[in-house]
């Protein structure tokens, strides 16, 4: 493998305009040298911006770097340049599955299967996606459709404030433990405790930053991720309110929802609900 990299590097040095940057980038990616792989791929694409395999490589490097949306966008570009590109269809199916977009994942993988080369991996992936879709359909996911008798269950504190199934809110205490609300993952599981524990650590960094920069006590943090928009605001007794919505939710609406949930949390903690 190291020999391959050396040979391909020499070849690229001899002819910087060649397309050998693709096998070179792929070899580096397989070795886990992602920064170098990215560097060679971007340079290669500067010379060959319409080379589908170059964009395919950039997408695979992006997946390895944990940048799923970027990978998806690159594969989308590949399909524009080379309609029906098998690697792009498989890759987009993978990204959609990771993002919980199961219907689209099945569409892309089915399109890959239709290329007709009998790829067993694709067939297995389709079966996996279908199984996940069946599993999801069987689980109650929308907290606004509450079972009867749960009106006083703190897990459903924000159910009527949130308007869509892709919106979820959690109220955490100062130790990051869930007081109320739920965080429902795409597969229907409540992962509130795990998400709360991870996200509550951000508040220490926020407090340090605002104190040292003399900005006053922080009032909200919003960050956009590949699959969600997450908004946080401090709550009573050093608690934390976390709201997560789908990427499709406009940021202005996220802020309004955060305010509404914060008000609901205050009333609940004040014993007014």
């Amino acid at each position: 493998m190291a020999d391959d990299v050396r040979r391909l590097s020499e070849e690229l040095a001899r002819d910087p305009g060649s397309r050998v940057f693709v096998p070179l980038g792929e070899a580096l990616r397989r070795q886990g040298q992602l920064d170098l792989a990215l560097k060679f791929t971007l340079r290669g694409l500067e010379r060959h911006p319409h080379f589908a395999d170059g964009h395919d490589l950039l997408a695979r490097v992006s997946v390895d770097r944990g940048e799923l949306q970027k990978a998806f966008d690159e594969w989308d570009m590949v399909l524009r340049l080379a309609p029906g590109h098998l690697g792009a269809l498989k890759g987009m199916g993978f990204v959609c599955f990771q993002q919980g977009r199961l219907a689209q994942a099945e569409e892309y993988l089915s399109a890959a299967a239709a290329q007709g080369d009998g790829d067993e991996q694709v067939a297995s992936a389709i079966e996996h996606v279908r199984e996940a879709r069946r599993d999801r359909a069987e689980r109650p996911r929308d907290p606004s459709r509450l079972p009867t008798g749960t009106a006083h269950d703190p897990r459903f504190l924000f159910a009527d404030v949130l308007s869509e199934a892709e919106q979820t809110a959690l109220l955490l205490d100062r130790d990051g433990l869930v007081l109320a609300g739920a965080y429902v993952a795409w597969d229907g599981r409540d992962v509130g405790q795990e998400v709360g524990a991870e996200l509550s650590g951000v508040t220490d960094a926020a407090r340090r930053a605002t104190t040292h920069l003399s900005l006053g006590e922080w009032s909200s943090i919003v960050f956009e991720t590949e699959v969600a928009v997450v908004a946080m605001t401090p709550s009573t007794n050093d608690g934390l309110l976390v709201l997560a919505t789908s990427r499709a939710t406009p940021l202005g609406l996220v802020r309004r929802l955060l305010d509404r949930c914060a008000e609901r949390a205050r009333r609940w903690q004040g014993g007014r609900i």
């Binding site: 949306q69 991870e198 951000v202 960094a205």
Partner: protein
């Protein structure tokens, strides 16, 4: 002559109304790579704190299964901190509360590609 590879990004951001500082920071160690600050501000401290905050948000989101973080903003009574990541670099903007965050966000997300490209060259 000192090379300023991120000058166009930073100069574009600092020109936005109410923006008081724009910096490119190494996410790993919080060291300033390049900055454009208003007089009297300490870039080093700002860079370290903002990079630490962004890094924490990125790691937390990843651990919570939310994927990679693109844009982050923190709001406080006396100002805002906005950050976007590009490879090992973080582009940070500090602004007064009246800033148009929507505009800053668009400019910052637009700069990510450039950040990645130049950051890759510099690495």
């Amino acid at each position: 002559m000192i090379a300023r590879p991120f000058a166009s990004i930073l100069d574009g951001l600092i020109r936005q109304r109410w923006v008081t500082a724009a910096l490119v920071v190494s996410e790993r160690d919080g060291i300033v790579v390049e900055s454009n600050l208003q007089i009297g501000q300490s870039g080093d401290r700002m860079a370290a704190l903002a990079a630490s905050l962004y890094r924490k948000a990125r790691l937390s989101a990843s651990a919570a299964g939310l994927g990679a973080v693109s844009f982050m903003q923190l709001e406080a009574p006396a100002g805002r901190i906005c950050a976007v990541g590009g490879g090992d670099l973080v582009l940070v903007v500090v602004a007064e509360p009246a800033v148009n965050v929507g505009l800053v966000r668009v400019e910052m997300l637009r700069a990510v590609g450039e950040l990645l490209a130049i950051g890759g060259e510099a690495a």
